[in-house]
Amino acid sequence: MNLKQSLICAIALCVLGTVAWELYWRSQGYYPDLDNDEALFAAQRKRADKASNSDVILIGSSRIHFDIQLDVWKKETGIKPIQLAYPGATPLPVFHDLVHKTDFSGTIVVGVTPGLFFSSTTTEKRAYRSANDKVEYFHDQTYAQQLNHMLSIPLQQNLAFMSDADGVDAMKLQFLLEGIQFGNRIEGSDFPPFPNFADISLDRNLRMTEKTVTDTAFARLIKNVWSFKSTPETPPRELDKEGVMKIFVADAKAFQDRGGNLVLLRCPSTEYYRKKEENFYCRDEFWDELVKQSGAKGYHFEDYVQLKDLDCPEWSHLSGEDADFFTAEVAKIMMNDNSIPFNLKTN
């Protein structure tokens, strides 16, 4: 047995196979990007432990994640915020964690996406569980997991196939196998394909891809997901206004009592979502009530002429270009009101 020959042969073939695999995925339009996972979240959450009173933390769902561009915010205010929003999740667990597990008393900007914000207060519901899992991961994260994440970053940044994506963007073996459908033993899922439509950076800045803006057929795929088996008239499946109010207001008071500055931000939505939100989360009963009860400063896109007509290519999030504009305008408005800290260097 000549194991040396076997090993050389194995390494050579494996390198060839891996290069071919990478080239195949690149030929399919994929490129290296980071996973918006719990490890990336934990790295930013860790920063919150050391944040000072002049720091800003963003929490919420995907809208504030897409619509606030961190570098633009920094350009306008001189302070780069910590991004702790998470797509498809309510900010409640993250806010609760920041209030009770840190002594942070700077500024927290909460993005309010009504359908998610007012959805639930228990881990039995997906929107709450999703955020809660990230918080728990952060607290339970081992040093080995931190090291693994650190080492995985250069790989994710250079190899397209290094991706945790599932569904139509799946590239890892397990998810590729899960995507194979044949036979009719069980009724297959009719959930529409849900491709990735944003890129994330190491600081968790999320930006809509240009394809979503320019390719209307692609944007349609995302719209199909949002409107799956639902119309603007279909009541929300998860809604617990009273429960959410109670928990959020209690945490808001605790945060403000220790000197924290709380700001609420309602980012734009259009067409399907706008109608749905008007139908089931009417402003005076939800947004106005939330602002009043929490004692926070509230900023609603409808109140500003330059913001109220921004278009969302897939009804819920702004394009990168519009997000830059929105961020700059929101930052200016908030600075004018002295609602957020800023550190503008003057010569």
Binding site: M1, C14, T142, R185
Partner: protein, 471 residues
Amino acid sequence: MLFNSLSFVVFLVIVLLLYYSKFLNWTNKKRMLLLASYVFYGLWNPPLVILLWISTMVDWTAGKRLAVEENQRKRKMWLLTSMFVNLGFLGFFKYGNFLLENFTAVINTMGFEYEALPMDIILPMGISFYTFQTMSYTIDMYKRKIEPARTFLDFALYVTFFPQLVAGPIVRAKDLITQFYEEKRATANQFFWGVFLLTIGLFQKVVMADALLSSTSDNVFGSDKLLHGVDAWVGTLAFSGQIFFDFAGYSTCAIGIALMLGIILPDNFRYPYASLGFSDLWSRWHISLSSWLKDYLYIPLGGNRHGITRMYVALMLTMLLGGLWHGAAWTFMVWGGLHGTYLILEKLQKQYLPFKITKWNGIFLAFITFSCVNITWVFFRAREFDTAWNMIKSMFYMQTEGEKILGSFEVLKVSVVVGILFICHWLMRNTSMKAVSLKTNPFVLGIFWAIMLFLIIISQGSGEQFIYFQF
């Protein structure tokens, strides 16, 4: 730290570079290995390294005293001290919550209203493995079966040696400590074979267990529905394959990594799913645990020296405690109890209905054994008795209204993977991987090796924890 993680790749490269560097002598290399082992363990939860230190100190002291002490009472006292500390750790960290829950349940049954505060005890990774390993040293010292470790460094490294620290194989002192006395270097062929074993182990874990089988088993055992018989069987077969690939994968990695350092660890699995009966199974599955249980539990309980009834009692107690070793839950006891029952029935069959095993009835017997083992896995995997009982009912079609939750491809995938696993075990049961590789053309072996490496890479193991870490 997990073998299937990027940090381990970096860790192993650093350890190998230092180990084969010329500027460290053998003692310093052992010190480096010891420090590396603490880092390996501590990167999971640093404070729990203290438990390892305590266990090491107690058994080192007990072993030293047992080597010179002649007074039988004092010798017993040192043995009991070691067992008290090691079993005390196990009892508190592993069984504390379980004991409290059962105590509360009993009190409540008696009509007293009592609700205990949750203890929230962290289960230190691999505690069952390293406590059993250190105890074996002290017990062997007490029985004067072995010589004491020459130095504290040799003993500490025996307790902490990172390749097998958290999930075995549980190595006896006589097999490992003596290897630390003389400088060890792997030969080129040993080193490459070690890399090959590491690849096989990672392939078993990352590709076979995690990518191919875990989701099916999780879906079935996580379902709160009453399942169709096919789904219940396929889920059970998936777990059967998953736990083998997961655990055998860890052991193979451990043996391979140790071999890269020139240290030889014993086999822990020998194609167990082709076992001809249950005695055969336990000489092929988790060999280091079953031999530990035999030497330190079954034989002290009387073994087969005091008649048939006493032997059956000893066998059953050994298997029940073996079940409990795996986890603090009654379902694990049932798992152990089923294996105990199988072993007793097999002994009865051999006594009253003996028959010769031929190549024709052998595979049928192996299949029957494998099927019976699958039934025990239901109790091992299910967290609740209700789940286990529903699964058993579904598997034997007592549940006609069962729901189908697995797609055709999943059923086919698991059937093919587990079918191939069974056939491979059957074909390999009287040989070894080494023997087969010796007969294989190097380029064919290279292609096979490359396929495994490639599949590991495209599976992108997300660092799923090995199942046996929790034990």
